[in-house]
Symmetry: C2
Subunit: 437 residues, 2 copies
């Protein structure tokens, strides 16, 4: 049998502790699968004395993760420190420069420095694996990087934030407000005290930026992502969506268009009977559309210590199965030096269907005025629903439009026009519709 | 750049032609991804003169696939001949013995000879890749073999036959009979002239046997699979299922139980709101339940030239990225020599919920007699529905029971008892219920 693979883990929080626990419990099976032992030889974390309920054996302790990354006693450096810069970045760079393979679960780090780190890894001939950084335990990186070789991706989209999906699921199931569902999610530990990062789409955007690079062979560009969160989604939207055969999900979508690559994170209407519409609660799902294969969908646990640990261990096992001198494929599907510059598509050029919900004063001519604004902007309508909503005063009505494919620019212009006409009680709600099977 | 990977393809039917076409069209991208060229250097097929609309370039022609498998001019032998024995088996063995990597899409071959072939591949230090053999383009082999390292699988199940799923979907959507939907599927080319292999579960069983080995580290045992097809599913079943919140799918299920491993293929009730229930038409899906990760579901195109070619090309690319001296993980997750004997669980010990539909003579005491038979076998009922079915004479009624978890043995005994009581118009329909999220 080959020599043991020596592993150093920096960061022993929930994920780090799960990785150590699972590797200990599955030692024999992992050895059988990989043809060599996985030995935890070094660890680093903030507090040396904390009881984490895990067996660290004879692993050497490092107070500084950068020192751990540099030690000659490890073959693989597992970065579970977190954060886009600071210790995580310094340690990963140190490990790569020292010729160590790296496994990381750090989406923030990769979305900011991924291309640079990939360049170092490829130059040094070591692996940089990051399955856990996107959609937790779902093997979307492996699928895109390996299984879909030769496929040209046209679109990748998914539910990549469990907190937001949990809140939307509860709003739909229980008829509760966004605020109540958020409070519940916080009570259950599914949402942070400051939930901005999850519910406003930042977390999804980080993950999407990584998938975009893999999908389109371009440099990562997380700053160019159009972003809308779910905090202004109301029960009126959820009910209207259901009535029209849709469900609302916070999606990250990356799509190749004639004018460039769209990257967007926003609440999205997906058909009720699509597979992705059945992805409930904290579960994640990613769909990939390609020319050769067609549409592939992967769903599963997107977060949590064990699900993330599963992906980290899969990444380590891939390294254990490799041998010295082995060259894997490039980190982001094509060599870092050959990743194309990111060419951003203008959001105003986005083409698709739209759901527009307006609360109007119930008086003669309102409907005609709205219809005229749509027609003037070449927007044709798939359905129009008008009804009294339980929550509205009797002199107000909800008008809901679903458009055929049109452009973002046309919708914005039409909606501005309707607002100028003075028939609206408040700002209209505009939600993009996404094709899904 | 490394030397080109020399590829020999035996079999130029729909899949073989797709592989050649896609490799030609994506040559530059594949080279970028793999760091070396993929060169088609040899082919073999039945008819040398047939126009397949593909460019074979300078590839050497072999009339005999075994000769092709043995030539020193290839590094990888791609077997797309088909069949569990004969030329396919001889050629794959010849290639492995000659030290060539092998890629195959042949489920019949693997379900019969997989363990033996894995043993040869491992002894020779070459790769045997077979992603396309199960669920077409869905990367379920890669996921189970690589991504889920360290996970202990408790259950794997899926829709693995597009023909059967197409027929069930049409029966549900259009209210047509099985016979009419089968005829339509044949007209559209989704079903063979002799559809037995697809609709009676044999095809699903072949695929399931491969997943079972990967899931549980045991030898492949396709002959031990319990099998029921879909040809006796009626509109009455489909309607009753819908009424009770279920959909009927032909599933292959492999599950670890206290008494051994269950492998079964049969029509199954899955909850209408589960993700797998939304997998319509010819689409396939596989769900994997593990201890560390939880439940993962993959869905996508399960057949067709391009989807299968996508998996074949992914397998070739994995070989292209490897280098001489590189040892991959074992073919079936653990070394062939260490695969455990298959320990079959008795079908009568199967535990689960059951749907039982009986057409009864509408007279006093029938209900009481049925209820007594159930109670005598310790079967408790989750729901009971009795109604007049449009298709039945007025003196007959449909009685539908959904049981709580019970055993196959108890259900068979209870149903035998009900039949002896003489109240039934014909044989009861018994369909197992499968948990799915």
């Amino acid at each position: 049998m080959a020599e043991a693979l020596r592993i150093g883990i920096a960061g022993l929080g929930t994920v780090g502790a799960s990785v150590v626990r699972c590797m200990t419990e599955k030692e024999a099976e992992l050895t059988r699968q990989c043809g060599r032992e996985m030995a935890l030889t070094a660890v680093s974390a903030r507090d040396r004395n904390r009881d984490r309920g895990i067996a660290l054996g004879n692993a050497q302790w490092f107070d500084d993760p950068v020192e751990l990354a540099r030690t000659a006693e490890i073959d693989v450096f597992v970065e579970l420190v977190g954060g886009s810069d600071g210790a995580a970045l310094a340690a990963v760079k140190a490990a790569l420069h020292a010729g160590r393979h790296v496994v990381t679960a750090n989406k923030a780090l990769l979305s900011k420095h991924g291309v640079e780190l990939a360049g170092i890894a490829e130059e040094k001939g070591v692996l940089l694996n990051y399955e856990a950084s996107v959609a937790g335990g779902i093997p979307v990186i492996k699928t895109m990087r390996e299984a879909l070789a030769g496929n040209t991706v046209s679109r990748v989209f998914g539910i990549m934030n469990g907190t937001a999906n949990y809140i939307l699921t509860r709003m739909e199931d229980e008829g509760l407000s966004f605020v109540d569902c958020l409070a519940e999610a916080q009570r259950l530990g599914y949402a942070e005290a400051d939930p901005t990062f999850d519910i406003e789409g930042h977390d999804t955007a980080h993950k999407l930026s990584i998938l975009t690079s893999l999908a389109f062979g371009c440099r990562i560009s997380a700053d160019d992502i159009y972003m809308e969160g779910i905090s202004n989604i109301t029960q009126a939207d959820i009910r209207a969506a259901a009535e029209l055969g849709y469900r609302i999900k916070l999606l990250g979508v990356a799509q190749r268009t004639d004018s460039g690559i769209e990257q967007r994170v926003h609440p999205t209407m997906v058909p009720t009977h699509s597979v992705i519409a059945q992805v409930h609660g904290v579960t994640n799902a990613v769909a990939i559309e390609t020319d050769i294969l067609g549409e592939l969908l992967l769903s599963g646990p997107g977060a949590g210590g064990n699900a993330t640990a599963s992906a980290v261990i899969g990444d380590i096992a891939d390294i254990a199965k490799s041998r010295p001198g082995f060259q894997h494929g490039p980190v982001f599907g094509r060599p870092a030096k050959k990743l194309a510059p990111y060419k951003k598509a203008r959001m105003r050029a986005h083409a698709g269907g739209y759901f527009i919900r307006m609360t109007v004063h119930d008086r003669a001519g309102v409907f005609a005025a709205i219809a005229k604004r749509m027609a003037n902007n070449d927007i044709s309508l798939e359905s129009i629903v008008q009804h009294a909503d339980g929550g509205l005063p009797s002199e107000q009505k909800n008008v809901i439009l679903v458009t055929h494919e049109t452009t973002e620019a046309a919708v914005r212009k039409a909606v501005d026009g309707v607002m100028q006409d003075g028939h609206l009680v408040d700002k209209p709600q505009v939600i993009r519709i996404e094709r899904a099977t």
